[in-house]
Every structure is written in C-alpha cells, then in structure tokens.
C-alpha cells in the first residue's frame, strides 16, 4: 500500500498537526517505510484466523457500581493551563457541539 503526500496531509490535519512542506515529505517517506515493513505480514495466510480484539487473553473485567472519592476541585484544576477556580478555561468555541 502506497502512502501518498495527501494521505499524510489528511492524517496530520485530523490530528491537528501542522506540518511544513519539508516535514510532509519526510513523513511521507518515513510512513511509507513503516507501512512497507509491516506489510510483509500480508504474505501470511490469515484466512480462518479470528481477528484479535485484545492482546491479553482476559475478558469480563468489571467493577461494582460503588462511588469512590473524586478529586477536590483545586486538585482537579491544578494541572490546567488556565482556570477560574471553578471551571477549566479554553479559547472560545462557539456554535458547535462535540459529537457524542
């Protein structure tokens, strides 16, 4: 599978990464190398092999629905670049909602 410059540009924009033209070229070459390396796995016949959902064999790990202590307000806010003592503050985002 060939990785194109526009593939890299799209992935970069989805990840909110700003890449210079030089970086785009480097990234395209590097990613092509990585994907090429991995693609040697394509030579294996995996028909009849269940897709792996998780590397651990464990399943059904649950906890009971019992409340535990939350952080205090000041603890919760302390690592934020900006807050007003109650809320995290971020540059204004208007009119649109996130997708749930």
């Amino acid at each position: 599978m060939a990785i194109t410059r526009s593939d890299v540009a799209k992935v970069a924009s989805l990840a909110r990464l700003e890449l210079s033209n030089v970086e785009l070229d480097t990234m395209t070459r590097d990613l092509q190398g990585i994907v090429g390396f991995i693609s040697s796995l394509d030579e294996l016949d995996t028909s009849g092999v269940e897709p792996l959902a998780h590397p651990l064999g464990t399943q059904n790990v649950f906890r009971e629905d019992i409340p535990t202590d939350s952080l205090s307000l000041s603890e919760a806010l302390q690592s934020a670049p900006r807050h007003d003592g109650k809320y995290f503050l971020v540059p204004a985002v208007l009119g649109e909602t996130g997708s749930a």
Binding site: L56, P67, T68, A76, F88, L89, A92, V93, T97, S99
Partner: protein
Amino acid sequence: MMMAAASQPTTSATTDVLPYTIVIGLEVHVQLLTRTKLFCGCSTAFGAAPNTQTCPVCLGLPGSLPVMNHEAFILAVRAAKALSCRIAEFTKWDRKHYFYPDLPKGYQISQFDLPFSSDGKLLVCDSKGRFAPRTVGIVRVHLEEDAGKSIHDESTGCADSRIDLNRTGVPLMEIVTQPDLRSPQEARAWLNELKLLLVYLKVSDCNMQEGSLRVDANINLHIPLPDGRIAKTPIVEIKNVNSFRSVERALLYEASRQWDEFNHTHAEIGSSPKQTRGWDDPAGVTRAQRHKEESSDYRYFPEPDLVPVTVSETELSLMTSAQGETPALLRSRLESQWSISAYDADVLVNQGIAFVGYFERLATILSDGKSASNWMQQDVMRMLNENTVAIESFPVRAEGLAALIAQVSSGAFDTSRARDIFSEMVKTGRSAAEVAASMGIADVGDDELMSLCRELVACNPKIVADVKGGKEQAAAGLLGQAKKKNPNVNPGKVRQLCLELIRAM
C-alpha cells in the same frame, strides 16, 4: 431500492396528502441509571458544583486506566433485550477520536464494529388512531461514555469558554433506529414509547432537562417523479433538540424546507456530504452547522485499556431476570385482566408504573376495573395536575379512595358530593368519613329521608298531579327543594322515594 420506497404504505394521515414520503431515523442517547461513571467511581449525581465529580480517569490524566461499570453493562443489556435486540456473545470497545475541549482524552470510548447488541425493534401504536401501528427497526444499541459540558457566554464579552467535566465518562447507551418512521408525529410518539419503556425498566430516568435523554434525527424525502423514478433528497441530521415536541416541530420544518429546496435545486442524495443542522427552538427553524466528519475521520481503533466482554446464555438470562413488565405487555394485561378498553389501558400505562400500581390496588379492592379506571383517569389525574403532585406522594391511598367510591356505589353520596369530599381528602389527608363529618355531610337516615319526602309530596300538589299525568320529569322540581331542606340528601334516592309515594297515592 425504488420498489421498497414505492411500496411503503403511506398510512399516516399527514403523508397521504403530501407529494412525497418523509423518511426518518433517530439516534437516541440515554444516560443509564448508575450511581457511578462508566469507567471510574466518580458520582453521576446531577447538579453538583462544576468539576467536583472528576478523577484522573475521567480527566484523562496520563497513566490512569478505565474499568468497566458492571451495572452499566447490565442495564444496557436489559434495555437492548427489551428492544428485541440480539445480544452479541463477544463485544469490545473502541476509541473514537475527535478534538473538542470537553473531551479531555482527545477520544471517546465507544463501540464501533462489535456493539453489544443489534437488530432490534420497537412497535408504536396510537390509541387515538392517528397513524397505523409502526414497527421501527433498531440497527444497534451500544455503550459509550459522555463528554463534558462547554459553556459559552457571549453576553459577558468573555473571550473564553468554560468547561465542566462532571459529565465526562457518564454511561450512555446509544440507540440507532432504521429509517422506518414516516411522519414527525410518528417520530414523537415512538420516542414517547421508547422513553416509557426505559423508565419502566428502570434503565434511565430519561430526564431531558438534565440531559439524560438526547435525540438526533435524520430525515430526507422520497419524491416520486413524473417519470416513475423516486428522487431522494440529501439526508440531514438535526441536532440540539431538547424535547419530543421540538423533535416533531423540527422534523415538520425540515420536511417542508427540503421540499422547497428540492424544487429549487433538484439536489439528490449523494450530491453533497451529509449535512448537520441545529434546531433553533425560539425561531422555529433549523440552521446549517459544520459538515459532519466521515466515520473514517474518527480513526477508530480497539481500546487497548479495556478487555472484551463475553456474554453466555446463562449470564444473559440472569441479567434480564429482574426485568419488569414492558409497557406493551402491561397494556394488554390490564386490558384483559380488568376488562378495560385498549384506550383506557394506554392512558393508564402512559402515566407510569406507580400510577398503574395505584390503579391495580384500587381495582383489586373494588373488584371493578372499569370504575377504578374512570376514577384514576378523571379524578385522580385532575387532583395530581391541580396539586402538581406525583402519584408516589399522593396523600390519599388506594384504600381511602376505595372507601369513598364504595359509598358512592351504595348511594350514600352522589358523584358531585363525592368529588368535593375527594378534594378535601387530598387537601387534608383525612379519610372520607372524617371529611364528610367535618363538612356536615352525613348519610341521611331512612326515617329522616322518608319524612322529608312525605313533606315534599304533601306540599307540591301541582308536581304530584303532573307526575300522575305521566310527566315523571316533573319530579325534578322536588329535588331542588329537598336539597334546600337538607343538603346531605342523595337526590337519586329522593327522586325514587317521591315517585314511589306518588304512585301509591
């Protein structure tokens, strides 16, 4: 596809007259009734001070690890089962990536290719017969975490948005329907039925004001063209709808907007990416929002921090054994067990499980479903509305109301007197007998009643003559006089007694 669209019966009264078929599918997010969040022990209680219900897991701090809430999974399975879904034997979680300040991790833990359930259905009937019964297919139900809340206050002129992460990680169940609904009215009714089901099963409180139930609606039009082809307008997803009434209004607006747009542009599905429009409730219009990201843009991949879940048949029956009666089953049981009409059963069931409980206690004591149903629908509902009180805290118990109704049946009070007594019982919390005594309402003894009637007959020769002449309705004149002499007399009894006396003359 064309055949399928053309053969869709246009059962709704509203679509019969329209030059197009409205096609609607819904996406409903429901908050599960758990005490704690989906992946951490933070409380889900509504209304706490901002950012006081967070921890390293739901803040997305490095090094923290999510652990699945068992109760959330059980509730979700219970709901999916009641929606006739197939429960997957093997299910896993995935990361859905997007950037928004209220999503601290930069991804939402959701389910992509292996949701825990799929292929369900839910029937909606309209007891008023405004549309034919409609079975709506359910594509899938999956479990995911909620995001936080962003507050943009433009009025303060503040350049910042404020973020509250109390909601972050709250367990949500997403229900995606097939595009099976054919009118805004059906969509609203179906949502009501879904909400009723989830509340009956105690899966969610479905409180829309508190964000426990949120609806996105997908809509487009299938328009038969003169050449026999069916044109399909581009699908629009409507967001920000805060009540079921608004869902209906937004869909009505959007259908006519799409019809107008089609007549101008003749644009069909596929000519543009799926559009998202927000519902502006005060203005009563939908407005275009950003274009929706393609699912590949979310860069889903399996969540490495959560192990998959398997569900055996035994576990499944254990999870759903505690499940209560669904509204649909309850309606048909009430109908047959208490000999009431389908319409009456519908009205009772729509009032909620506690209301039905009260009805059944009342009907059991009275051994009369019809009478209990009438009192519930007229007097009890009126009292609940007038006093804005819930049936759970209604001051008159079923036993107390039954005692009053029994006295009406025995002829001690007429219905209008009984209503006065009932109002007073609700106000004071006292029994029918106590209220009757305090209001000076007493059962008039047979001797007293007889002497009153003798007096009336003796003093009204004209009425007596009229009645004897065949005009029985003339006896009504005696009732007013009887009430004046003694307000406690039962007019029915007075009438009967006076007629007997006159006939014997």
